[in-house]
Amino acid sequence: MEGFSKNVEACPRLLDLIPKERELLGDREDERSSSEEKKLELRLGLPGEDWPLKNTRERHESQLNSFGYFTNGNNQTQKFPSSADNSHVWFNQQQKGQVAPPFLTFPSSTTPPTATAPQQSLPVMAKESSQPCCNKAVVELQQCAEKKAFSPPAPANTAVPNSSQKSLEFYHQFTADRRCLTAPGPVVGWPPIRSFRKNLASSSGSYSKPTVESLNKPVETCKKGLFVKINMEGVPIGRKVDLKAYDSYEKLSSAVDELFRGLLAAQIDSSSNGIMNKQEEGKAITGVLDGSGEYTLVYEDNEGDRMLVGDVPWHMFVSTVKRLRVLKSSEVSALSREWKHQAREGARELCEQIAMNFAVKILHRSLNERT
């Protein structure tokens, strides 16, 4: 807070407003995304286990480890960061100063931040975990072979959020007994009901449609591959491709040809005379990337939009693609007109938005100056 206001003292130049604004925007985004990331990347661990930091964003791992995760070190009570280290703990706030996060209050945290490189670090509340994680962890009883006494959780003056409390309870159970006889928490596979019977309670009362867990997993990520579904127009059987097996669009394109050439030939055969003509291999499927062939490759990204394959750098494509489709090129040209229109619309809206915000800022400044 303090740091921020210092910068505003001087008479603001219009250009100054923009960077600040971006900072603010950046903060919110970062906060949101990192809190989401928090959910994604955190897992239940055990006393003494090192946190695997999978995210590739810049981190200062050594600093993090020393900041006393609740379970770090078997013998330690939870460590509060010392006042001098306060600044490093809170993600995204380092540049502007101390904003006490809602879920943890420190005994003392008044020193201004030292100017350091932005550290988007994991929050100290390291034990947030989603329910499935808990379940799984409870079942993985082999991990509780380490029967170390877990140090008691939050001391009186620390507010600990509920999820963390629950997860701390789990640790007590783990260390208590391998069979978790006293575990109050849910256990995998108990009661023994199949998953499609389990969602009934969530739809009760309002008689609305139940939120059935989606059985469709368009993207499966596992340590080994990134599988996305790929469908070709006119061929009922879809397939799956592992995008991690390719590193360029060309390779993907030839894979598509391999996958569908035979199927397409079979389809054409079957619809014409019903007899599989095994001698014809079918003609190759080419030109899927540049629009020159009979078919074109498109994909659906994580926002549900359909895009042409090949426009963005490969790694960006891999990170956003959810599903692939091979469409007839004639259809795609209709699509592309639609896309262009959408792009123009989108760009216009964005410009309007920025101009609006800019104008508002100026107004505010001028108002402040007058008073």
């Binding site: 079942v139 256990v187 995998v188 596979g189 108990w190 023994p192 009901i193 019977r197 009760s204």
Partner: protein, 639 residues
């Protein structure tokens, strides 16, 4: 002739055993008691050099051998006679008589049942039985349904369908349970068997609507397409429209588990084009209005799954909807009703016209109260099978007990499957059912609290019980009135129910309960144990006392290596043993593996912990003629 006819504990023709009943209900285990006559199915060992009626024209002995006509005639007669033998238990017995009978039986068997797809290889099965028309295959163990096993464990259909494509061109029926089926498998199936008639997939996964589309379009003789509690992925293919427009021979179409929306117009056309359709179970994307239209098209239905049983969203409130009551009145043949996936209870009375004839009613997705249920159930005098949610409370169960005197099977599922709530059904409901439904044969009951007294009462009131599965959802929960363990209740069940073959126990149980089971459960074939027992003695009682035990699944119970070793004499007679989160060690499992070479001993680790640990997370072992399978995922090690 085979000199030794005594039962041997080596395997196993019983791998091929199959029940006469063709129904496969949700947790079906209705195989007859295992024929203790087993035989080593490697043909060479049973071939004898004896002379006499056993040798026939295929015998490889004297070059100047002249086939005596009477023998030939005998064999022909035998062949004709054996065609009529349908019970697989009898067939297995017949195949042991002598070489000739073995051969003829193999030629005349038309239904192949494989209870564990890894017990025998496709090649071995297809080379012994060459004229099969119907195949039933079961794959994963049941506890895999409850996420106790990592995905991709196995049970792939692919090797089977490839082998069968080569050897069984006239295959008509395939029934699968807990197998992994891919779209390619379905495509191969559709391509390879021109007369294919029946496909039933129970608790399967790995395929999607594209596979269904291929089956629909290729299998022109298809009569039955039943998808029961399977996971079907949405490939954006409108599979219903792939059925031929010219008409189908469909008699049964069950797709209530398919979560993808369907094109209703295509479905309506299909129903109109399928004059033989008797069984239709819709998924939850079919609204009541659409159901109405279908019922009008197909008044001869006998089995109906009603879809969502709520109006679609664009029907305005208070608008006069179609006359559902008369639609039901028009379907005079309905005997089995299910669905009600998103029911608005006010509509339930629409089924009144068919209640008097109903033999089977499945409300297990319908959140209805006792008040909603009573007017309906009071008309269901002929009801034999009733599946319901515990939302009807004890009061609803009392109403059932008052009316449904013919009830054979009752399943009460929990609306909220948690351990820490009060729970709407209890011993009161169980007691009422036991007093009202004396002919009860099978019960599955989820509850939060129970007493020994009620269970004892049921054991006395319902002597015909074959299946007793009680799930007290709170782990280790005792009799809530007396505070004692539930030992006496379950003990009474095994003691008094002389026909009991399947038992699932729960609640606080000591070794005493297992002592009862070992002492009295002489025909028990399937036993499910969770969070029970005190020591190794519990498991020992069971393994030593239950000679007919075939399937044993145990989780989170304190049984260790010593107990495991006490069952060595019996494991070849079992289909499988599952033990997860017990006190087993690698060493103990190794001992078993070494002592019993025909047993496949799989140690399954959870994916996140692949280090070799002394403790065994999950043990799954089964007899097999093939040794370790070759499609083992990395989290499984075979000892």
């Amino acid at each position: 002739m085979i000199t030794n006819k005594k039962p041997r504990s080596s395997d196993t023709d019983s791998i091929y055993m199959r029940d006469d009943r063709t129904e496969m209900s949700e947790d079906d285990d209705r195989s007859p008691s295992p024929n203790s006559i087993t035989h080593d199915s490697s043909p060479t060992r049973t071939y004898t050099t004896g002379s006499g009626p056993g040798t026939g024209p295929g015998s490889s002995s004297v070059p100047e051998y002249l086939a005596p006509c009477p023998d030939q005639v005998l064999e022909n007669v035998l062949e004709n006679v054996l065609w009529f033998l349908t019970s697989r238990k009898d067939r297995n017995a017949a195949s042991l008589v002598c070489r000739s009978w073995y051969r003829v039986e193999a030629l005349t068997r038309s239904d192949l049942f494989i209870g564990n797809c890894y017990a025998v290889s496709p090649k071995r099965a297809t080379s012994r039985f060459t004229r099969i028309r119907s195949v039933t295959l079961k794959g994963r163990p049941r506890f895999a349904d409850f996420n106790l096993m990592p995905p991709n464990w196995g049970a792939h259909l692919a090797p089977w369908v490839s082998a069968m494509a080569l050897t069984y061109p006239w295959l008509e029926k395939v029934h699968l349970k807990r197998m992994s089926v891919t779209d390619d498998d379905l495509a191969l199936l559709a391509e390879s068997f021109s007369g294919f008639k029946e496909l039933v997939l129970v608790c399967c996964d790995g395929f999607g609507t594209s596979g269904l589309a291929i089956v629909a379009s290729r299998c022109r003789q298809l009569k039955v397409l039943d998808l029961i509690e399977s996971e079907v992925s949405d490939d954006d293919v409108d599979w219903i429209s792939y059925f031929p427009d010219t008409g189908t021979c469909l008699e049964s179409l069950i797709f209530d588990c398919v979560e993808c929306p369907i094109d209703f117009d295509a479905l309506e056309r299909l129903v109109a084009n399928s004059p033989s359709l008797k069984k239709l179970r819709l998924n939850r994307h079919v609204s009541m209005g659409q159901l109405h239209r279908l019922m009008v098209q197909a008044p001869r239905l006998t089995h109906l799954g009603t879809g969502s049983f709520s109006p679609s969203e664009d029907v305005a409130q208070g608008e006069q909807g179609p006359d559902y009551v008369s639609a039901f009145a028009g379907c005079k043949s309905i005997v089995c009703l299910s669905g009600f996936r998103e029911i608005i209870p006010d509509y339930l009375p629409a089924i009144n016209p068919v209640c008097a004839n109903l033999t089977s009613l499945n409300l297990s997705y319908a959140n209805v109260s006792a008040e909603h249920l009573k007017p309906i159930i009071s008309n269901c005098h002929k009801l034999q099978i009733f599946w319901v949610l515990d939302s009807i409370c004890d009061e609803g169960l009392q109403a059932v007990a008052a009316t449904c005197k013919e009830l054979r099977e009752l399943r009460v599922f929990p609306f909220e499957a948690r351990e820490d709530i009060e729970g709407p059904v209890s011993e009161v409901g169980l007691q009422a059912v036991s007093e009202g439904c004396r002919k009860l044969q099978s019960i599955l009951y989820f509850c939060q609290r129970m007493t020994n007294a009620a269970v004892v009462a049921m054991s006395k009131n319902c002597p015909d019980l074959v299946v007793f599965r009680l799930c007290i959802m709170g782990r280790h929960r005792p009799d809530h009135v007396t505070g004692e363990p539930m030992d006496e209740g379950f003990g009474a069940i095994v003691m008094n129910c002389k026909k009991l073959t399947r038992l699932a126990v729960s609640g606080l149980l000591t070794d005493r309960a297992f002592a009862y089971i070992g002492k009295y459960g002489k025909i028990v074939r399937t036993l499910s144990v969770a969070f029970a027992g005190d020591s190794d003695m519990g498991l020992k009682y069971v393994l030593e006392g239950c000679p007919r035990l075939q399937k044993l699944e145990i989780r989170d119970s304190p049984f260790g290596d010593a107990a495991l070793l006490s069952g060595l004499h019996h494991y070849y007679n079992m289909r499988f043993l599952w033990m997860s989160a017990c006190n087993l060690s690698n060493q103990g499992c190794q001992q078993i593996a070494q002592a019993l070479p025909r047993l496949v001993v799989e140690v399954i680790k959870h994916e996140d912990n692949l280090d070799m640990d002394e403790n065994v997370d999950t043990l799954y072992m089964y007899r097999s003629l093939e040794g370790p399978r070759d499609d083992v995922p990395r989290f499984v090690s075979i000892l």
